[in-house]
Symmetry: C2
Amino acid sequence: MEPVPMLLAMTYRAMGDQFHDRLRQIGLEPLRPAHGYVFRFLKAKRATTVDIGQHLGVTKQAAAKIVNELDEWGYVLREPHPTDKRAQYVTLTTKGRDYLKFADNLWSDLEAEMAEAIGQDTLDTIRTGLAAYLQHVHGEDQPGLRPVW
Amino acid sequence: MEPVPMLLAMTYRAMGDQFHDRLRQIGLEPLRPAHGYVFRFLKAKRATTVDIGQHLGVTKQAAAKIVNELDEWGYVLREPHPTDKRAQYVTLTTKGRDYLKFADNLWSDLEAEMAEAIGQDTLDTIRTGLAAYLQHVHGEDQPGLRPVW
DNA sequence: AGAATAAGGTCAACCTGGTTGTCTAGTAGG
DNA sequence: CCTACTAGACAACCAGGTTGACCTTATTCT
């Protein structure tokens, strides 16, 4: 019997691969999961590079690299912090928001296909079950989304 | 609402971190998930480095590195292939088998705690649901367990 | 049998996505 | 104002992979 974590990893891979494949057909930059998490985070709140690193669970230097890429590709831009002259807010451009919208639709599609394959109720149970487990382990303050492997 | 893959990744991390923590308390070498997968694979069948690479979904060179480590640490040893003078079988030592046993117990403990937290039936549904999805996506020939992130 | 091709294993160079460590400029609290 | 801290940039490094070349042994095809 496969250990549960193995199933989690394999399923994650399977969904991620499909996501990536379909994305590539559109011909967008080779965005990695971390980029997506940044978009989602930036949509929710204004944030600096340090904030992003914290959220991702990586060092600020690693976060800075990611932000640089996103900047070069036009998904985000930096604007001066109103009160702190050291800091810069990282904000989504229109391209960034469009990407996020597109990605969200794609995820919805993939989840819908999953629901079709294993049943909506089963999928719901998976979702709530995993969420409950995370709640149980981490309590309120969920940790970053650091690299998985 | 969190996308499902995010939940998968976070849960995988959470379980993996706990596994790693408890393992470290025992003071064993810093084995990574890939090493564990190798053990599991070697227990099931005799295999060469190339086979291992295939199973892991990495190049034979990457597999060779892993096997080298495991060899140095005494978890596996190489023995000549009976009919093919090029090839070597990689086999588990007693230390390797002991580790695997220990790890399996640890995983069981973690799953038991998970079951306690979210309910045995929920956990069962998660397990069968994910397995069914993988079956649906990949059919019979499951792919390797390549790095997840 | 002999030649061409494929496969196991090793070596070496390189790439990527992270790390630590150091520095400057700006902030905040006593 | 002085001290301690923080945002961000720069550089060196590391781990875990990759690609490519190679040698040796196997296999296949004529």
